[in-house]
């Protein structure tokens, strides 16, 4: 006998269905296992990334606390925003918080640091899924573009200038990608509007109970 005869049970619908079901179960089990095995490590990396980004938007010299430790949660336009406070002693020197905006492909989330005067200390992109090679120039590793926000505030730059140059604003767009920088500029402007709306609550000393519109809670330590 030269050719291998295929057993007849393999032709049955039950075998086919069972096979498919088995592989689906197997794949699901593998993914669950993979998720369990990597979840803690990924969370850990995310926390490190956050700490690293916070350190970039609130320079070390102007605060003396651990930025992850002094948090404040406030409600802005129906969304809860976590604010990290940089303190010198008891008073707030700077705050950092995340903002996000819809980019060219998916959400761009970024973190920005603002000092007591409402001036931007720094902006960093946390995550995005923009086109590699075009829209990813918003990353500080790839281009200096995000530095163009440093030192600006809503007082220093009039409202209509918060746009890319193509739209008559003050910020460069990238060749081949206008939607991405447009989204980032909009996000940063929204972030400054948030600061303006909650200024008093954000800048209240640590020892005082932070009351004001929108404050949801404060934390002394990071709960994980």
């Amino acid at each position: 006998m030269t050719a291998v005869v295929e057993p007849s049970y393999r032709k049955r619908v039950g075998y086919q269905g069972g096979l498919l079901g088995m592989f689906a179960t197997l794949a699901a089990a593998l993914l669950v296992g993979g998720n369990v095995a990597t979840y803690d490590a990924i969370e850990q990396r995310k926390a490190e990334d956050l700490q690293h980004s916070l350190a970039q938007v609130i320079p070390d010299g102007i605060h003396d606390n651990n930025l992850l430790d002094d948090r404040l949660v406030l409600k802005h336009q129906e969304k809860e925003v976590v604010v990290y406070r940089g303190l010198t002693g008891n008073s707030v020197a700077a705050v950092a918080y995340g903002v996000s905006e819809q980019g060219y492909s998916g959400e761009i989330s970024l973190i920005m640091g603002v000092n007591r005067n409402g001036e931007i200390l720094g902006v960093r992109i946390i995550s995005h899924s923009e086109t590699p090679g075009l829209g990813d120039k918003i990353e500080v590793e790839k281009d200096d573009w995000v530095y163009s926000f440093d030192g600006l505030s809503l007082e220093k730059l009039p409202e209509e200038k918060w746009a890319v140059k193509k739209d008559g604003g003050a910020f460069d767009q990238f060749s081949g990608a206008t939607i991405t920088p447009r989204a980032v500029v909009r996000a940063v402007r929204q972030g400054l509007i948030l600061f303006g709306a909650h200024r008093a609550a954000l800048l209240k000393d640590k020892s005082e109970k932070p009351v004001g519109p929108g404050i949801v809670s404060t934390t002394g330590t990071v709960e994980n």
Binding site: R10, K11, Y15, Q16, L19, L20, F23, A24, A27, L30, L31, G34, N35, A37, T38, A41, I42, R45, D49, S129, T131, P132, G133, L134, D136, E141, K142, S175, G176
Partner: protein, 231 residues
């Protein structure tokens, strides 16, 4: 049954190259080849998935029936891609920051399904893995060539940001070939991808034709014998 590994290597890298002759995987190809570094990253990630899917599918080939093979292959490939993504995020976080954008794109790479269907599901483990490696290598080469072409013409640099992908030791790869180059935008945009790919394909055809011609000329000489070879 003997497997001609040299033939498999030749097929993967040149004769039956995923892009050059199978014309597959053009979507991820055109999407990421704005720079040579991105091409390299995507190529390497694809290579890993191709080798591991070839391994798994070749091992399971006795079990899978022809009727349900496609959904099973898709499941296996998608599971591998997701696992690679998660593991890279957890243990090679810096690399994931660079390649993370590309990894999910690999699922859309029909060439992996194509190799699973036409090779790994019909051959033993070793040749299948070797085939996956060579096909992945061939794909990586095309990605780098296309990325380099587009990058040089489009932005005047070569391997920009390579140190982010490969580590500081490789920063020597980063070249600025044309200083103060103002950029040639269309090459970075998708149309530039089609243009560059078209020229690369034409170039491959020309080389193949030359090779065929010189081969047939040699054969002619051999047939005519030594006396006419002097004329």
């Amino acid at each position: 049954m003997q497997y001609d590994y040299r033939q498999i290597a030749r097929d993967g890298i040149w004769d039956n190259n995923i892009v050059f002759s199978q014309m597959l995987a053009l979507c991820p190809l055109l999407a990421v080849t704005g720079t040579a570094t991105n091409g390299l990253g995507m190529g390497l990630a694809t290579l890993v998935v191709m080798v591991s899917s070839a391994l798994v599918i070749s091992l399971m080939r006795g079990l899978i029936t022809p009727e349900v093979r496609i959904p099973v292959f898709v499941l296996i490939i998608a599971a591998i891609v997701t696992l690679v993504d998660m593991n890279m995020n957890a243990w090679m976080h810096d690399l994931h920051k660079i390649l993370g954008l590309f990894v999910p794109l690999i699922v859309t790479n029909c060439a992996i399904l194509g190799r699973a269907e036409s090779f790994a599901s019909r051959n033993p483990v070793l040749p299948s893995v070797f085939d996956g490696l060579m096909m992945g290598l061939g794909f990586t080469l095309v990605l780098v060539a296309l990325g380099a072409t587009r990058e040089i013409i489009g932005s005047g640099t070569l391997f920009a940001n390579a140190s982010l992908l490969l580590g500081q030791a490789f920063s020597f790869l980063e070249l600025e070939l044309i200083p103060d180059y103002r950029g040639f935008l269309i090459m970075i945009l998708p149309p530039g991808g089609f243009l560059a790919l078209g020229f690369l394909l034409a170039g491959k055809r020309v080389i193949d034709m030359r090779l065929a011609k010189s081969r047939s000329a040699k054969e002619d000489k051999a047939m005519q014998g030594p006396e006419s070879a002097t004329s």
